[in-house]
């Protein structure tokens, strides 16, 4: 069964690798946005879905990655790819102390605490002397779509791989145990803090790597666009719809939401937020675990069983 998952995932990635260079600039940009958000969703799912810590601030790491490329390229004259890797590394390094700190909060406290962290990082970027402040940083102009795209696709592969590993491994099992009941998991000998922080770091590396590609794609960064609540909330919504804590959830949610967004957004620019919100509520009421577990009850049962096993 997991072989099938790997096979399908590889097919998806292969299609995503082959199609864009054959298509127009438009096709490439559509694929870029879709792959970006699905990858962000996989990243978010790691801390929110598997560990049960809903964060409304993962975009903090996304912005850090974006600025790593922006500043690395314009101030240090380093190649962008190197800076993008560095962005991921910096995000990971920062996520360790941040994780130990923030994961002491629970539930809504953690969620909103992370939102506060993202806001604080945004404001810090606006005021820090070396970041160009709110004027932003202009990267050398150019049409960087394909390089940025392939980087993002590679990160998606990484994120899916990480998710697959978490889903199947003993680590993942313990993670889901602490998601179900942290105190109980602790008494059963699970090193709760360590596992939470690992999940948090993994969940920070993904947006940290993706941010760099985004900066290279747009050739301009500024605090508001990079530490954007919009990006965060869209990611969250995608995973909710698709199925939080499942392997396919981010992919289904991401694909679904971009389609809905595109068709609705064109026809009802004002109304589509209402429809979105309504959709999220409807899906959560009717399918509390999202779409994927509803389509695949066997998988849902398995997930519930492992959750209850703790």
């Amino acid at each position: 069964m997991s072989d099938r998952r790997i096979a399908i995932s590889l097919v998806v990635l292969l299609v995503c690798a082959i199609v864009p260079p054959l298509g127009s600039g438009y096709v490439q940009s559509v694929f870029y946005i879709a792959v970006l958000y699905v990858a962000l969703s996989y990243g978010w799912n790691l801390i929110a879905g598997y560990a049960g810590y809903l964060s409304f601030g993962q975009v903090t790491f996304f912005g850090i990655g974006a600025y790593a490329v922006a500043l690395g390229v314009t101030r240090l004259h380093l190649p962008w790819l190197l800076c993008a890797f560095a962005g991921g590394a910096i995000a990971a390094i920062l996520a360790i102390p941040l994780g130990y700190l923030m994961l002491r909060l629970r539930g809504a406290f953690f969620a909103l605490g992370m939102l506060g962290l993202a806001q604080t990082t945004r404001i810090a970027t606006e005021t820090a002397p070396f970041t160009g402040g709110s004027s932003g940083v202009y990267l050398p102009p150019g049409s960087n779509t394909l390089p940025a795209y392939y980087w993002t696709l590679a990160v998606l592969a990484l994120a899916m791989g990480l998710t697959l590993w978490v889903d199947r491994s003993a680590f993942g099992l313990r993670l889901r145990a602490l998601r179900a009941d942290e105190r109980a998991a602790g008494t059963l000998g699970v090193d709760v803090t360590r596992f939470k922080v690992i999940a948090f770091v993994l969940s920070a590396i993904v947006p940290g790597l993706l941010g760099g590609g985004y900066a290279w794609y747009l050739t301009y960064v500024d605090p508001a666009s990079m530490f954007s609540t919009r990006i965060e909330l869209q990611t969250v919504a995608m995973v909710i719809l698709g199925g939080i804590g499942t392997y396919w959830g981010p992919l289904v949610g991401g694909a679904l939401m971009s389609q809905v967004s595109e068709s609705l957004g064109a026809r009802f620019p004002q109304g589509h937020l209402m429809i979105f919100g309504g959709l999220i509520v409807a899906v959560l009421i009717a399918l509390p675990r999202g779409i994927v577990p509803a389509i695949s009850p066997a998988r849902a049962r398995r997930a519930a069983r492992t959750a209850a096993a703790a």
Binding site: G107, G113, L115, E126, R179, V236, L273, M274, I280, A307
Partner: protein
């Protein structure tokens, strides 16, 4: 730093605290009783502020006169939301917490869309009570004074409600021990609806007054949610005195940090303080329940 300045900054801080408290009280009611964080809280405040602004511009109804309507409107909205949205939650507490957080998240999205459709993205406020009272060298903004007084009055009313009325006692029982309350025959679903109604009503009342202080548009909601949450977390769940105290502390911090540090520092103070406090005092200053 001379005395006048210190006094002015202190007054500004306390008045700002009044604004923060007013925003946060409604959230505390819902959170305190149901453990549900209403992420749509800020959106309800903003919706009420937009309505109050339009009511003033078109009919001359002052935000103060609007208060009872805002309260009732908010209460009805809250009750309806609770009835529609929160009927089916997963049975495990972790799942319930996650789902309810995400549900209110969806509701927030919905209300923003609705507000945009009705009010457009224009910024609105109410040009009423905009002057400052002069007490010697100290200036006190009229609209802020009203908000300050309202915050204390509402907090007092809520405290009385919870202690002295049967419904209030039932609400408190439900917040302290869900199973025990259920065993005593308290209808938990009804308690939840009432707390949502009450909390949303208070939020809407706050919004009505806020239209005199801020210019808002449908996207302004999330800041109020975050701010309210910081106050509640700092002051402690379930304690209205805590909300007032937490708000006062945050107001003073913003005021002094904004003056001696920078405006940006003032802006991040609420987040920084609330995170710091939660790490060292997870229940907040006067909190009773577990965080």
């Amino acid at each position: 730093m001379h005395l006048e300045l210190a006094a002015q900054l202190t007054i500004d801080g306390l008045l700002l605290g009044g604004v923060f408290a007013l925003a946060a009280l409604g959230l505390n009611v819902i959170f305190g009783v149901t453990r549900i964080v209403n992420l749509a809280h800020g959106e309800i405040i903003v919706l009420a502020a937009l309505c109050a602004s339009v009511a003033f511009q078109q009919r001359g109804i002052t935000p103060i006169a609007m208060l009872p309507f805002a309260f009732v409107g908010g209460a009805v909205l809250g009750a309806i939301l609770e009835r529609i949205v929160f009927q089916r939650l997963p049975s495990d507490p972790a799942g319930a917490e996650t789902t309810s957080l995400l549900l209110t998240f969806g509701v927030a999205y919905f209300i923003v869309g609705f507000s945009l459709a009705v009010f457009t993205g224009d910024f609105r406020s109410t040009p009423y009570l905009t002057s400052g009272l002069q007490l010697g060298p100290i200036s006190i903004g009229e609209s802020r004074l009203v908000a300050f007084v309202a915050a204390i009055a509402i907090a007092g009313a809520l405290a009385v409600l919870l202690r002295a009325t049967p419904i209030g006692r039932a609400l408190r029982a439900a917040s302290q021990n869900l199973e025990g309350a259920r065993a005593c025959g308290i209808d938990i679903g009804r308690m939840r609806t009432i707390s949502f109604a009450l909390g949303s009503g208070v939020a809407a009342a706050a919004g009505s007054l806020f239209s005199m202080i801020y210019a808002v548009n449908p996207d302004s909601g999330s800041q109020f949610t975050l701010l309210s949450f910081s106050v509640v977390a700092l002051g402690g769940l379930g304690s209205y005195a805590g909300t007032l105290l937490g708000a006062a502390i945050l107001g003073l911090a913003v005021s002094f940090a904004g003056f001696f540090g920078s405006a940006q520092l003032g802006q991040v103070m609420p987040y920084v303080i609330f995170i710091a406090v939660l790490l060292f005092r997870p229940n907040g200053i006067l909190g009773k329940g577990a965080a």
